[in-house]
Symmetry: C2
Subunit: 157 residues, 2 copies
DNA sequence: TATTGTTATACTCTATAACTATA
DNA sequence: TATAGTTATAGAGTATAACAATA
């Protein structure tokens, strides 16, 4: 029985989900799990969650954006952004600046400290992607991104 | 002001996350969100969640597998499988069969009804992937799967 | 002692409704 | 009336510890 059990494990364990690997969605889910796990560890060194880094990136690249535009950009619910922005604002990484002539929305602006932290985190994320995708050639990485963006563009609302 | 607001939206709204789209992880997350949303709707017609379909697939392809092996295969925690299998068993789509000489694990076996439901759901999932990836050529789909599996294989534990 | 299945629990992510203050 | 931000809440998905039965 020990022999049976061992040979079963050794011979077929690696392909028990063979049928599912024919689905791109399943493969993406499995790979994204690996990527997000490593990325979360990398960003934890900066006290950032993955979503916080995304928010910081968009605000640095689009200073003055408001929360509704930010939510649309990252495809998040406005309500789920509140705590994330609260945290970043409390840490003085960005500010909610009043807009002249409009008192119901704020312009999100990165602080100097926010820009500096973002630059360090951004470099770390580039390092993370280099490591996690190190088995792909430059051409393969470019092809992967091109294919993913082609799918997203087709279904862009 | 209406003009300013409109031109801002029209000119820069589409590329506010341009910097993030350089990251494969971000692009995968965005695309997987679209794919999983559509897939969930497709599987809801069979009263299946995405995870239930994965479980059913692995059990159909590997009759006799136990819960620990199933959890390893799908990279889930054993504890999180309990309710899913409970549901599938209560609906008589699969059974927990006792194993001769081993009373602490069960052999998961698909029922005839389970195989039939799986065949219908499987066909629907293939249809879903065909629709959601319809902008890609056969070669592109194959390339995408190959790249994803190459990443996964490299980091397989 | 180690393994299998299970329970309980907690934390993250996501989705929705309703509120406030503004416009 | 509609919009921006907010609050509360609920549902998935995921992770961990501890337990009973069994090996």
């Amino acid at each position: 029985m020990a022999h049976t059990s061992h040979s079963f494990g050794a011979e077929t364990e690696a392909c028990r989900d063979a049928d599912l690997t024919r689905f791109t969605g399943y493969n993406m889910k499995r790979v994204l799990g690996l990527v997000q796990g490593d990325l979360a560890q990398v960003l934890a060194e900066f006290d950032l969650r993955v979503i916080s880094f995304s928010v910081l990136t968009v605000v640095v690249q689009n200073p003055g954006i408001n929360q509704t535009q930010l939510a649309e950009t990252l495809k998040l619910e406005r309500s789920n952004l509140v705590q994330i922005i609260d945290d970043l604002a409390k840490r003085a990484l960005m500010s909610r600046s009043p807009i002249a002539g409009n008192r119901r929305s704020y312009a999100l602006m990165p602080s100097g400290e926010g820009r500096l932290l973002w630059q360090r985190a951004h470099a770390a994320v580039i390092g993370h992607e280099g490591r996690i995708l190190s088995m792909l050639s430059a051409q393969e990485k470019e092809a992967l991104n091109r294919l993913l963006l082609k799918i997203r563009d087709e279904w862009a609302s």
